[in-house]
Symmetry: C4
């Protein structure tokens, strides 16, 4: 997206004015092998997918409207009926302690400060019970369907009991991703699973990845639905065909995601696929992750029909640089940029925006 | 645009043959932080918007016609019925004293020499009275609608009294731009506003930006129209929808502009949007700014329906390098290049040109 | 294609995880002039054609489907009714001893290990008799139609006698390619031709190239068909018109190939031409070579209608680095990547895939 | 165009195998300011136009046909009924003595050796009489319509008398090009004009450019036609509208040219405009210059309807490096490359080729 020009902020320093600044600082702080493994390089699928996500945003330009009263703006929205002060959620990232000792506690405190929600990873450093206790608003919880269905069932019941506001089922990773994803991960330090005693019962204890079931199908989604009243969100949809199936199976929300390039790489960029996904999803809410770097990206995603975006990399970078304070600042940067972009676009309320706010640029031409 | 090949000119030196040469010299002369802040870098919205403006020009190629008698050419046009010897105006740039001690006096003298008009910024270093007195032709004056409507009204009356030939209302900057825009600016040194005593009455004195009203709407344009007989030009239109509204509100002219990237960045380039704006604007005259570097750009903009172009960066660079003489030379370079381009294209009169003079190049293909 | 992320493999070392790693190692091992001559540079037709083949793959992105049971996958296919454990064949490369002393014996052993077939070059270092004896499955044999038709006929009969499973006739090199192709080649060391005593009877003995007949036409294909019951495959088709002629002449298979850039360079990339070739070929099976670097490329080619792909460069690189073991590892890398890509795409059987698995990316836009 | 791979030639050395090699050698030999002035840089209209001409060729790919008898090929064609052994002419370049002491005598001898024609510049170092005497085939002669029409008429009569086979009238340079074009030019050393005594009668003697008439129109073409029976060719057409006018005015041939970027720069590349020009030109023969570097370019231009191509830069480079021998070698390189390209494309006669031989590549896609 076109950036708005960044101002120096009182919260940060001159050197940390943008999410990209946080990225560069995180690069300095993390061990290079870990950094490359989490965020990719130009030569691997992780980095190339991130580049594709960015390129898709950068092919969009705003069509700003003038002479509208933009003296007050509302950045709030709802997801599954729950209020977000800005249309941003913190995506499920595993083992936040890899980058900051406070782990997901830093995350939830930053979410509280920003008035938004987080999606707690199944393989979080801190247990769901602790996180939900620390939260001032709804917390969503992520899970994989495990080969051990009994354990999966117990997990779902537990998450409902401790107060999860939605189940986010990751469906784009049927059991195998790069082993190097475990770089920097303390083995078996996953709060919720330890709390439930699930770790001990799993067939394979060495790696969580190997407990994920590659045989999971839509029937398992129906089964999850039968287990709980919680809203169900599927994460990892990339085609309108699957968005249609989400709708038909009564799924409450879906995350258009290419898993940051960590599973199957992607050349298209999630935002490029957003319009067709939104059209197919019908009543199912659509969220997007992949490549969010600026407030303008958030507005563009909403204009194309997303209800909110999820942060992955930006979240890690904020946590890496300064834990809760860093992530709080990252969220504040995005909020300010979104606010300015809305103002310059003549938008005062996110419910007003649609595709007419945008145009596409291909080469040097633009296409309405 | 395709350049014509530049000849060494008697006015300048071998090293200053093109507007780009002036840019490089200005870069040497200005403090780097100021240069970057005014003209951007490849990493910010200012520089990227400038790049987009250039890319849009560079995707155009001429369709030159042969065997027409081009022994005499007329480069003159009219804007709002006022004659320009070349279809170029000097856009409203704030605080010209930041780059040259003569400030806007240098500007108007160069405009006089070239037989063109300038648009005096509301936040000029020199007052409208002085500038209009120094002018040998019409002067347009720019303003923002301020939160203080009484002050705004006084300003409009004053500008009419001292002989402004048109009001140029900037409508794409509802109150907040990068604070760094004040880099290098002497506080409260704005001639016209001082002369009128408006500075003292403003609610916020620290920064002019904060006095601009984000609540301004088309009703305020109607109000301005009711205040004065002066022609009204709106600066900062980017959509055909708003061009249509200009027409419907009886606006006399509009400037298709992306504010040089200083407000909301733009990926499309102004000239790419020109045809749809011209079509929607109807009787309202359309001017364009953004990315003008060569005489060929001027001809291309006119072929797509602009009546004239406004210079921003090129104006600053000329003033920076040598004040009045530098800007005079910049204008002479553009005039010669435009003249040559017309001759090579088989055009003798700017009223003849239309879109048939151009073709678009996308990748390695061209499209009529 | 989008890569899947590569894991460290027990077979290789950390530094040899991808086909590209083999390329870089081969570059270190081979004499630079030989490397450039075989694999090209960015400045010659060989390298530019390879770049085009890659660019065509990289313009494709997958449309992965979710929630399908992918717990078991079959990577097998058939070519001309013969089973391949993975849809990959080893293309006919001349004089394998240039890069490894075991020559084509290393090749066939690696093919055996992978459960696939090789296409033995007419100008192989090792004779067809020896290779077929060493093979655990079908071997295809490549030939040119020579000016000496009697010798050609004897060669065809011989290949049938010793057990070739198909004749692959190269049709895109009518007699002249760069002389430098002989760099590093021991003269007249071609096993099969020596065995048959054909070398002695040829009109020109200095260079095999000069014995190839530029006058060969479809009538010669009909003649070959009349000589033998062996299936006939034509290698070097680039147009649907010629694919149609293949079908009309009862050709059993065709290889869409741009000869790695060694004959006429190509800007399009073979995979970009695949859909139209498949459509025109009808019952004639279509194979593709050019630019295969990852398992994802194999899946993409099959989704667009190829029954299998042939390896050229990747084969040489594996042989260069470690002979049989190197090539075996290259094939294992591709098999694993293909398997993972299928799993992430929701594909369990190669017979299921069609064009709906893919989307094209042009610039930053994608096109279904 | 896709290159065929270049072989070492007996005529040249290993370092001079391609036209590009000649370019690099010429760069070493010529004074940098002269080289840049004649052939441009990436930053001026000359170099950028050359880049555009190349990009247009490089967006084309061949659709080679197989199994055609290509054992003998004819590269000959006719222009205005005159035979060329290869479809290449030597374009009118001024003052060849700037790059080699033999000047245009070297040119005509190389043309003789290759069995082709040259177009002698009006401002040649050697007179038309001498050149035509030295020629073994037809010579075409170029001229501008001068302000002094009487002198123009005398020149035309003289050229006819001494045996010019066609008049090539340059129509895209109405009197003003960069003064630097005179870099390295001996003043008033133009053979034909001296011979005729025209130099003395011209209004302006300092520069030939200033004697060219910017008021020339189609009436002057009709006047030239009335003066002489010689075929008339117009050089510098870029639009189908003007190609249509050529046909209507009975012009015998036209050169689609962007003057190598020396007049009005061009972003499209001449070959991109060729199809529409050929269609509009009807019976008028179309020739093309701009960007020819390889034999493949020649074949592509002919496939799109040109009867022949003209060499500008390649001619200068050959002359610069070794006068007659250098240019002879350049022509031999192009002939061999064209021959090979024809063979690989399944073409034996240039009369067979049409647009079906080509496909266009945009980004990573191709378009028939």
């Amino acid at each position: 997206m076109s950036m708005v020009n960044h101002e120096t902020t009182a919260v940060g320093t001159v050197d940390l004015r943008t999410v990209r600044d946080y990225r560069e600082r995180a690069r300095e702080l993390l061990e290079p092998h870990l950094f490359d493994n989490m965020f990719g390089t130009d030569d691997d699928a992780i980095g190339r997918t991130d580049n594709s996500n960015r390129a898709a945003f950068e092919s969009l330009a705003f069509r700003p409207r003038i002479l509208r009263d933009v003296s007050s703006r509302s950045l709030a929205t709802t997801v599954l009926g729950q209020r977000l002060e800005v249309p941003i959620m913190l995506g499920p990232i595993g083992d936040a302690r890899r980058v900051h000792p406070d782990g997901e506690l830093a995350t939830i405190r930053a979410a509280n400060a920003a008035g938004i929600s987080m999606v707690l990873s199944m393989v979080s450093s801190v247990s769901a019970t602790e996180i939900i206790e620390a939260a001032s608003g709804p917390v969503w919880t992520q899970l994989y369907v495990l080969k051990d269905r009994a354990a999966t069932g117990r997990l779902v019941e537990h998450l409902a009991e401790v107060g999860s506001a939605a189940l986010v089922v990751t469906v784009d990773n049927p059991g195998i991703i790069s082993k190097d994803v475990n770089v920097g991960r303390p083995p078996q330090d996953w709060g919720t699973l330890k709390e439930l005693g699930i770790l001990e019962t799993l067939a394979v204890r060495r790696s969580m990845i190997e407990n994920i079931d590659p045989a999971v199908t839509w029937k398992d989604i129906d089964w999850l639905r039968s287990l709980t009243q919680l809203p169900i969100v599927l994460k990892g949809i990339r085609t309108p065909e699957d968005a249609t199936l989400c709708r038909e199976h009564g799924v409450d929300g879906l995350v258009l995601s290419n898993h940051g390039g960590h599973t199957l790489g992607d050349q298209t960029g999630t935002v490029a696929r957003l319009p067709e996904i939104v059209e197919a999803a019908g009543e199912t809410e659509v969220y997007l992750d992949g490549g969010i770097r600026e407030g303008a990206d958030v507005l563009a995603a909403l204009a194309l029909g997303a209800r909110a975006v999820l942060l992955g990399r930006a979240q890690y970078w904020g946590l890496t640089v300064a834990g809760e304070a860093g992530l709080t600042h990252v969220l504040e940067i995005l909020r300010r940029e979104l606010d300015k972009t809305m103002m310059f676009c003549g938008v005062t309320d996110l419910q007003q925006v649609d595709h007419r706010l945008l145009t596409s640029v291909v080469g040097d031409r633009f296409i309405e």
